[in-house]
Amino acid sequence: MTRHRNLDAALDRLLDRLADDIVAAPEDDVRPALVGPDGKRALRAARDAIGEAVAHGNVAGLGLPPDKRPMSGRDPRARPH
């Protein structure tokens, strides 16, 4: 196995474990992140990001050729920017 593959595998393992930790984190470990101006900004940014995606989900999706998206028949040019 080449070095970059070893490193890639290590990176993947680490990211997976940390992401799993965040998913399973007790509420007590998450709530402090909501406190204060930074917490409010972070929450608003997360809410906005998801809200925008949900709104745009009714037209063509991101990153894929429009004709290959499962939601065919919609004009991707209509997607708001």
Binding site: L7, A10, A19, I22, G63
Partner: protein
């Protein structure tokens, strides 16, 4: 909303109304979990913003590209989808980089069928990505040892045994790590 270039995912079913409904009612803490995961994964994707990654994952779930398995919490489902989007993006970047060097369609074959051999640029990217994660815990020596163990694929018990950590010391450090990941706000605190 910016575009993330990704590979074509597997085709799924109809747009998922359940996902849309569930997204609208996510708890604040779950929104922050998703943001934290997106930020973590985006750290190792040069040029990709956490919001782009999260939004692409949401879209895949909404349009049926990814089916929401029964019994899996939405946050876990979106976390898995973000991993998939990130993997697709990295694969595409590599293929494009190879395609720039190789004529014709040999690049795809090289990536999928053969070991392309040592790749200094890719090695450097992985080193930088691991260093970026280390910086998150730079002031916490115990956390860094745990990070090293996690990267090696060690179990919690193996990490504790190797480093001589008590269960309490280990659990406390993991709690600090979780809080550090959650605290990592988009404005300020960027290491």
């Amino acid at each position: 909303m910016r575009t993330i270039e990704v590979d074509q995912p597997e085709m799924g079913g109809e747009p998922d109304r359940d996902v849309a409904d569930a997204l609208r009612t996510l708890a604040d803490t779950d929104l922050l979990r998703l943001q934290a995961i997106a930020r973590l994964r985006a750290r190792v994707l040069p040029g990709v913003d956490w919001a782009d990654l999260l939004q692409e994952a949401v879209l895949r779930c909404l349009d049926g590209s990814r089916a929401w398995p029964v019994g899996v919490p939405l946050v876990a489902f979106l976390a898995m989808t973000m991993r998939s989007v990130a993997d697709d993006h990295r694969r595409r970047r590599r293929r494009e980089a190879l395609a720039g060097l190789w004529a014709g369609g040999a690049a795809n074959a090289a990536l999928t069928e053969a070991d392309p051999g040592p790749d200094p640029e890719r090695t450097m990217q992985a080193v930088q990505a691991l260093a970026a994660i280390d910086r998150l815990f730079a002031s916490d020596e115990i956390a860094l040892l745990i990070v090293a163990g996690l990267a090696e694929g060690l179990s919690p018990d193996e990490i504790r045994t190797r480093n001589g950590f008590s269960q309490t010391l280990y659990d406390t450090a993991r709690k600090r790590m979780r809080r550090a990941l959650m605290r990592h706000h988009p404005t300020g605190g960027e290491p």
